[in-house]
């Protein structure tokens, strides 16, 4: 058991790579489905393995650490670690991978070996991002994710897959230029301080270096640089335009993973690196991030309202809901942070399920235009029930998982002390966070509007002649949707089942902000625009 505790995380990262290497050797079998079986088996194995940590059977969570020297001259280590936040996302990743492989059973037909190889390499990259405790390693895994995802979209995607795939790669790569800049800036700061030279890239060294005499201006600049990287991934308006294209062209299982996991890389990075490492800068920038969050929520919800393409509508709805993560982060308190993390988890389940629903319709009709649909409720009742259920979950029906998580975000934002007001454009626009939260609430209303309207157009009304003999959901589709639906109910009724995992660690991240706010409220209220004053005066931290 000691061996397992010590190497648990390393095995977790390496296992998908091994699976990726084995896949090409699997014989196709008589019915050509053997590769699918192996893929599902591998994903199931990975899921069960990750589930060992669920009840702490491999050692208490947060104590899973692995650190080995790698390139000591440059201070690069091979460091993995799992706090509750990471493990929550790891559970989500391995679970959704299993769901995606089951969903691939009917949707993916060509070049299966390459497909599963890429899928497993992608899993390694994503798990690596969540578990890395060394900035260099984090960046390595961050970049590693690009190529498998590119190929997954570009080979198995829809008609405009080339364009969508390369757009995804170029946007992400453009973003990671800023990540390199931020990482190197942090690294050089740690190096000039002479801290722990053999592990300069390690999170703990970097954190120590930041709390040790780093000017507020530098912090703000590094925060902005890394924020841009993660904002491309999240995505945040106006850097979001790659996402609808990628979603529309990607095959169903890949859309599930894209919405369910890959977007979480962005929000995880924001929480762990931006807000976690640079609290002073986070405090300065929180008002602006709150504004971005509201724009994200309301604008993309509005855009979703006018979509004629079903998958694009769901994609924009997915972006809109990621805005709640941003709002929760900007609240800068324990409830907001916990809410944001919970939204990540809930969004992972619900949006993946919605993309699965769209996929089931697409494989039957080969059309994504809402205008082509209508009256499907009578033809495909099972799909209709699940689609309706997931739409209700997405728009925040009580007792379902989105309701619980988004309520936490709203509550956190509403009671937030993050900022009293922002004066943009002189005194023309006075915002306070309660106002911001109120406007964000409009997003939920618009969300209800586009989802219900979509349900009406797709499932009610008169059905077109050509869809008269549509088959209903197959067993593999029912399996995926029913499992997701069960979890949506389970975590909605009893959120503590998952929140207990990440709550201590995420609250820990927030305490720093509460200390800072206590300091600040003891001083005179801030009158100026905090960002500009920080940059122009180059004020050092108190």
């Amino acid at each position: 058991m000691n061996f397992l505790t010590e190497h648990y995380l390393t095995i977790l990262i390496v296992l998908p790579l091994i699976l990726a290497a084995i896949v090409p050797l699997v014989p196709e079998g008589a019915d050509g489905k053997n590769v699918h079986r192996f893929g599902i088996f591998g994903a199931g194995l990975l899921f069960l393995y990750s589930a060992l940590a669920w009840n702490g059977s491999v050692g208490p969570m947060g104590k899973l650490e692995k650190m080995a020297a790698w390139i000591p001259d440059l201070g690069i280590t091979f460091s993995l670690g799992a706090d509750g936040l990471s493990m929550t996302l790891v559970f989500l990743t391995t679970f959704l991978l299993l769901m995606a492989t089951v969903a691939s059973w009917t949707t993916i037909e060509k070049r299966l070996k390459l497909y599963y190889s890429m899928l497993f390499i992608l899993t390694t990259a994503v798990l690596g991002v969540f578990l890395a405790r060394d900035l260099f390693l984090f960046f390595l895994f961050w970049e590693l994710e690009l190529i498998p995802m590119y190929l997954l979209i570009a080979i198995w995607g829809g008609p405009r897959r080339d364009y969508a795939a390369i757009k995804f790669v170029l946007y992400t790569l453009f973003g990671s230029v800023f990540l390199v800049a931020g990482v190197l800036a942090l690294y050089f700061h740690a190096r000039t301080l002479g801290l722990n030279p053999a592990a300069l890239f390690h999170f703990s060294t970097i954190q120590a270096a930041i709390s040790h005499n780093m000017s507020l201006t530098t912090q703000v600049l590094i925060f902005i640089a890394m924020f841009i990287t993660f904002a491309v991934k999240l995505p945040v308006v106006p850097l979001h335009t790659w996402l609808p294209d990628a979603h529309v062209e990607a095959p169903t299982p890949i859309s599930m993973l894209l919405a369910g996991i890959l977007l979480k890389m962005g929000s995880y990075g924001m929480l762990q690196l931006c807000f976690g490492f640079l609290p002073e800068a986070g405090q300065v920038l929180a008002p602006y991030i709150a504004l971005l969050a509201v724009i994200n929520i309301v604008y993309t919800a509005g855009v979703a309202l006018v979509q004629t393409d079903l998958k694009k509508l769901i994609a924009y709805s997915s972006v809109s809901h990621m805005g709640f993560v941003l709002l929760g982060l900007a609240a800068l308190n324990a409830i907001g942070f916990n809410g944001a993390t919970f939204v990540m988890f809930a969004h992972g389940l619900v949006s993946a399920a919605l993309f699965m629903c769209v996929g089931t319709l697409y494989v039957r009709t080969h059309s994504r235009q809402i205008a082509d649909y209508g009256g499907f409720a009578s033809q495909t009742p099972i799909i209709f029930y699940f689609f309706l259920f997931m739409s209700m979950a997405s728009l925040g029906l009580p007792l379902l998982v989105s309701f619980a998580s988004e309520t936490m975000v709203f509550y956190g934002a509403f009671i937030s002390q993050a900022f009293q007001q922002i004066n943009l454009f002189g005194n023309v626009l006075d915002w306070n966070i309660q106002g911001v939260t109120f406007v964000a609430g409009l997003g939920v209303v618009i969300g209800a509007a586009y989802l219900l309207w979509m349900i009406k157009r797709v499932f009610f009304g008169t059905i077109q002649e050509r869809w008269n003999r549509l088959p209903d959901a197959t067993s593999s589709e029912v399996f995926v949707l029913a499992t997701l639906a069960l979890l949506v109910i389970a975590f909605g009724v009893y959120p503590q089942w998952i929140t207990r995992h990440f709550e201590p660690d995420v609250t820990g991240l927030a305490t720093r902000y509460e200390q800072l706010q206590a300091q600040k409220s003891a001083m005179a209220p801030m009158s100026e625009l905090p960002l500009l004053s920080a940059i122009s005066t180059g004020a050092h931290k108190e």
Partner: protein
């Protein structure tokens, strides 16, 4: 020993050929094992004056070059007497094994001689050698007696520095040439009726490059550079029937001759200013140039930097590269873009850490401009290329831009990252060219569109090419990612004034992914092109000897590209040591007081 045991006996018919072949093998074996034996028995030296000369001037340090030279001579003899093409093919075995023997010899030096201390690896081949070759001295017969002492009372400045740096670079050069030879064979023998000479000229070029990596004297630099260049001109134009090849050769010759003239002009100004040709003495003298001569120094700097930039094909001196790369035989392109670049950077590193370090002025600004232009131009123009060799030519220009960053900052960290990047570049670029060569052998095409759907017919070839291209683009977990990261962080660490260079490098490498990924996309995603569709489903069984070496080359490149990143620490340690030793040597020369310039103390390390 039966001749039939030899791998080439199957091909040889005539008795003369067999004897020659044996002779060549014996010579190589003697050199390799002899050098080890002599090192192991130091007492033996004292018996024979010639050997003592070899020992006291540390001539053994040139044993790898001696092996190459012997192989060239034996091969020339062999080619001259070979009766038919089948016999000439034996030259390939001879040269490939010779290069590998030179590599092993360098490894032996690294393992046996180098640990004996830096003092031991100083090659004292200055005027001493000239004195030894004076006719009256030779005639007198003294050199046969054991009374003459060659041991130097005063250490002269060497023409050739056999330090760790040159050892590492020569290891890269020989190993790279060995890889090139592995995938050259089919290509040349298919296209040329005189394949034997091709290998010999390739070895002459390698010979020039090897000596260039340690050259510490302007005359030595020039002679080595010309050996390398002239051999390259011939290699480029080697396919006599091919118009493109001939055009490329002529272009290369004209541009190259021009660049050489400019470089030589620069050298002559240096000589005029300092009155010496030895790097340490030049550095010392140039550091004390009177102010009214600074203009001359500036002109000289521009000329030398320009000449070297041409050899490195840095923009805006890159114009020859795409045309030459397109027309030249593909293995030659591999040689030019890897081996000749490594030799060029070795020269540049030594030149800039000794000669130019002494010169006050903005030559690093000059280099920065070259670097930025190369990065932008190489990457942007590569976007529009339709020929794979032209694409790789522009990619080479771009990589030279990245590599020049290490010279711009000239910190030990930057230079050792440069050396590490050169090693990764060797594996990834040679791997890419190995695939291009194999593909050209199989289909006769070199346009990018022909690569469509390659993965369906040759999955391993496509996989290798994909890994190499992604490594060139700097995607993890390949060595190219680590190389770029180390290099860029070293540049950023050198000072805030270099940050803009890092930003340009990052942005242009973002652009580069587009064109590399385009090739990957074609190979993996697109439907097979007519060229690929016409390929047989399996490798032709008739030509195992030609396919296997190329496969071996690709395998080695693949292992190197995938593992060099994980073994970054030992590789970086080695390159740091190499750079530090070289820099220390030149730093000493700068600090030396005027009178003691000819007396280098033994404890200079």
């Amino acid at each position: 020993m039966s001749i039939k045991m030899l791998p080439f006996s199957r091909r040889s018919d005539s008795g003369a050929m067999k004897i020659e072949s044996l002779l060549g093998m014996v010579v190589i074996a003697l050199l390799v094992f002899g050098s080890g034996w002599i090192i192991a028995n130091p007492g033996l030296w004292q018996q024979i004056a010639v050997l003592r000369f070899v020992q006291e001037t540390n001539l053994m340090l040139l044993a790898p070059e001696a092996i190459i030279l012997m192989v060239i001579l034996v091969s020339v003899l062999h080619v001259s007497f070979a009766k038919n093409p089948a016999e000439r093919q034996f030259t390939w075995w001879l040269t490939a094994m010779g290069v590998f023997a030179a590599f092993i010899c360098l490894m032996l030096h690294f393992i046996l001689i180098y640990p004996q201390g830096p003092d031991y690896v100083q090659l004292t081949l200055g005027q001493k050698l000239v004195a030894a070759l004076r006719l009256d001295f030779l005639r007198s017969g003294e050199w046969l007696s054991s009374t003459v002492s060659f041991s130097p009372n005063t250490r002269e400045f060497p023409m050739f520095q056999a330090d760790l740096f040159s050892l590492v670079v020569r290891m890269l050069l020989t190993f790279g040439t060995f890889l090139v030879l592995l995938f050259t064979r089919t290509f040349v023998e298919k296209r040329s009726e005189v394949p034997g000479e091709f290998y010999i000229i390739l070895l002459s070029a390698l010979f020039g490059g090897m000596l260039l990596s340690g050259a510490a004297d302007l005359i030595m630099v020039f002679v080595c550079l010309e050996t390398l260049s002239i051999s390259s001109y011939i290699l480029v134009a080697y396919l006599r029937g091919n118009v493109l090849s001939a055009e490329a050769g002529l272009k290369y010759l004209l541009y190259g001759g021009m660049a050489t003239a400019i470089l030589l002009f620069g050298f002559s100004i240096v000589y005029g200013l300092a009155g010496s040709t030895s790097f340490p003495q030049l550095a010392f003298a140039l550091a004390r140039v009177p102010e009214e001569q600074l203009m001359l120094v500036a002109i000289m700097t521009v000329m030398i930097v320009g000449g070297i930039a041409f050899k490195l094909s840095a923009a805006p001196f890159h114009m020859w590269a795409p045309d030459v790369y397109e027309g030249a035989p593909t293995p030659v392109v591999a040689f030019l873009s890897v081996i000749s670049k490594i030799a060029g950077f070795a020269l540049a590193l030594r030149l800039f850490t000794t000669l130019f370090l002494a010169i006050p002025g903005a030559w690093f600004g000059l280099l920065a401009v070259l670097s930025v232009l190369s990065m932008i131009l190489g990457n942007v123009v590569a976007l529009t290329q339709r020929n794979i060799k032209r694409l790789l030519a522009y990619s080479t220009v771009a990589h030279v831009g990245y590599l020049l960053l290490g010279l711009v900052v000239l910190t030990p960290e930057g230079m050792s990252s440069l050396l590490y990047y050169l090693a990764t570049y060797l594996f990834m670029n040679l791997g890419a060219f190995a695939v291009v060569t194999c593909f050209e052998n199989a289909t006769g095409r070199d346009d990018i569109a022909a690569y469509a759907g390659l993965v369906r017919k040759r999955p391993l070839l496509a996989l290798t090419f994909t890994v190499m291209l992604l490594s060139l683009a700097g995607i993890p977990i390949t060595a190219g990612f680590f190389g770029k990261f180390f290099l860029f962080q070293a540049v950023a660490a050198a000072g805030d004034q270099y940050l803009w260079l890092v930003i340009i490098a990052l942005l242009t490498s973002t652009i580069s992914l587009y064109y590399y990924l385009n090739v990957v996309r074609l190979m993996v995603i697109a439907e097979p092109s007519d060229a690929v569709a016409a390929m047989p489903d399996t490798e032709p069984q008739g030509a195992p000897m030609s396919v296997r070496p190329a496969m071996l080359a690709m395998l080695v490149c693949m292992i190197g590209t995938l593992l060099l990143g994980f073994a970054a620490q030992p590789a970086m340690t080695l390159s740091q040591q190499a750079i530090l030793e070289m820099v220390k040597g030149s730093a000493y020369a700068l600090k030396a007081p005027e009178g003691s310039l000819s007396q280098v103390p033994a404890d200079r390390h």
